[in-house]
Amino acid sequence: MSAPSPLSPAALGPHTLLYRYSQDARWGLAVVRATVLEAAHPQIGAALIDNSTFMAHPWRRMRNTLDSVRRMLDADEEVRVREAARLNRLHRRISGTDGQGRPYSALDPEARAWVMATLFESTVTLSRLSGESLDGAAMRRLYGDFRAILALIEGDADALPATPAEFWPYYDGMIAGGLENTEALQIVLYRLFAQVPAPPLLRGRPAVWAVGRAVAAPVATAVIVGSLPEAFRRQAGLGEVPGAQVLSRGVHVGTGLATRLLPSSWTRTDTMLGLLDPGRADLGPNPVSSLRGRAGRAAALLRLVAPLPRESAAERSADRFFAEVLDQTGDGHLDWPDLAAMAREIATRLDLDEQHEDRLYEAYAGWWRELLAALDADGDGRVTRQEYAAAASSLAGPALIRVAEVLFDVADKDGDRTISAAEHQALFRTAFTRDVNAERDRYTPGEFVRDFLAFMSGRQASAAYDSLLTQA
């Protein structure tokens, strides 16, 4: 292993310890646990409450997080730097004031350092609980990886202590005095797990999901809570769950054993993501593709034999459209963060550069102004479900057409004024047809705008747009 400056972007890549963790499906649990600790940070909590789509679309949010980590650990330095720049642009759009009038910003160095700190600590803790404690050298390496990521997005890693030895006092200090019992924390702990929507695989089978969730949600909560530092639990008013720590340890040891006993490819993050989101075809060639084929076939069979969901009409009610598509943050009303979340999802998926991203956001901002003017009857700066229902038909104004045009432009990577099969695939993760003649269909601007409007005005459900904006 060569030793470039430990904080230079060259220090990251597939050789890092963090890369190995991020490939292990169990790491998803660490990410969820870290989210709990992050939500208790006043700035992050406020940003989550106002802007995040994790309540309404937790699976998508998790997938995006793992994608982002994957890109920041890519073998190609250009990919890593590009991802950091994209993340910074995304965070620059997230700022405001919290319920107590304190300003927050997703660019705040302290807050970003806390994100890295919680991820590091969660990785270490979950390793320990599953019986694979990191030794001193490994811990130093892993900590170095997180600092390098912070340096990549922040320019320096000064907000995190230099060594693990200095880290633990910082962490304990934060737990003791830097966190609050925020609204976001309450929501993550008590609502997210209990209400998490079905992953794409089980959509359309709400009964199966509800039963599974009724069992899994309390267990997940107990497992996560049981692994949190005691000082934190006390402060957040998280009572002692009898047996939670035993259960927590049991689950972690169990997953640890499963990881060792199952073929390694089964427990990889990619495989899990492939199972959760079977429509996805962009994970690239890798040794587990044959397994994913098998998992894909199993998922296909499962979907085919499961009873049909009752609603099969292409028309969806205005109410459902509001909840599934428009209200991205899941707070029951429509405001700018909802539309910004749509722009963000599209920009993330297409990996847009700054110029295209700005155009897309501007188009969405224009649509937001149009919506406010047309639908916000009481002038409170947001659109309620009732206001939307009263005037849903006027949704397709010129600004929405503008959104469709910009979306077409940014999706048309080669600028030939048609959306090819490959471009369609990049945007919607599905091809138009599953025929072998991949180039047989092309989207013209007119067709594209028409389909987009039909979807956005709630007149027509579309598998393609559902995969982009609806799926949890």
Binding site: R297, A300, T433, S462
Partner: protein, 243 residues
């Protein structure tokens, strides 16, 4: 080929559902529903007889002009049939494919199930079942011509064999035998390219009444015709050999 005289590729034009229902003074939709049993019977009979490729002509592009209610019903029926029989088809080693599934017109739920069924059975090799669904033979040819032009293939390089590679599912062999039920004797824009050298049989039985026994009878007729012209393979058969 497994057994002598068995056609490699059999195609069925499933005609007569409407008349079957009319004869019984029942709505047309009942005829479609009754067709399901025939479909399953024929698939089983073909597999048992050693046919390697079976194509069913289910729904043509022209059918979209039928009354909306009937189209909706057909879509639901196809979806239900497909879902009911998916595990069995897979267990029997049948690879399922759908020809001409133009994306936007098919309801999303059905499109999803079709994709699932194709994924589930994609690795099977015992028999390939191609369902010509929303299919038009001319459209396939036009599409193939378009992709040739887009691919900037030189005119001299276009031969019958190379052209066929631009058709959907280019690994599909030519059709050897077409069975069109209900006595109708038309091609109706069905797999135009692939039926060029096919034998045609027109049993008078309506599709909902068509059963394995009828299918075997057709195979027998085909075998007798082959014997009559047999011995020396027809030039067409030579042509087919390297496709």
């Amino acid at each position: 080929m497994s057994s002598v005289g068995v056609p490699r590729h059999v195609a069925c034009v499933m005609d007569g559902n409407g008349r079957w229902a009319a004869l019984r003074s029942r709505p047309r939709t009942d005829g479609h529903r009754a067709a399901e049993a025939a479909v399953i019977d024929v698939i089983e009979a073909a597999r048992g007889a050693g046919v390697q490729w079976l194509s069913l002509y289910a729904f043509s592009t022209e059918n979209w002009s039928r009354p909306g209610g009937e189209v909706d019903f057909l879509m639901r029926l196809v979806r239900g049939t497909l879902r009911r029989h998916a595990p069995v088809l897979h267990a029997r080693g049948i690879r399922c494919r759908f020809l001409g599934v133009a994306y936007p017109r098919i309801p999303p739920g059905l499109a999803r199930d079709i994709a699932d069924l194709m994924e589930l059975t994609g690795g099977n090799r015992r028999m390939t079942l191609t369902v010509a669904f929303d299919h038009g033979g001319r459209r396939d040819i036009v599409e193939a011509a378009r992709s040739l032009i887009r691919g900037r293939v030189r005119a001299e390089d276009v031969t019958e064999a190379s052209f066929a590679r631009y058709l959907p599912y280019p690994d599909t062999p030519d059709v050897d035998l077409v069975i069109r039920t209900s006595g109708e004797q038309r091609i109706s824009n069905f797999m135009l390219w692939q039926v060029a050298y096919a034998e045609w049989i027109f049993p008078s039985v309506l599709w909902p009444d068509f059963r394995a026994a009828h299918f075997w009878e057709c195979l027998d007729t085909y075998r007798r015709r082959q014997r009559r012209f047999g011995g020396v393979p027809a030039p067409a058969a030579l042509e087919r050999g390297h496709r």
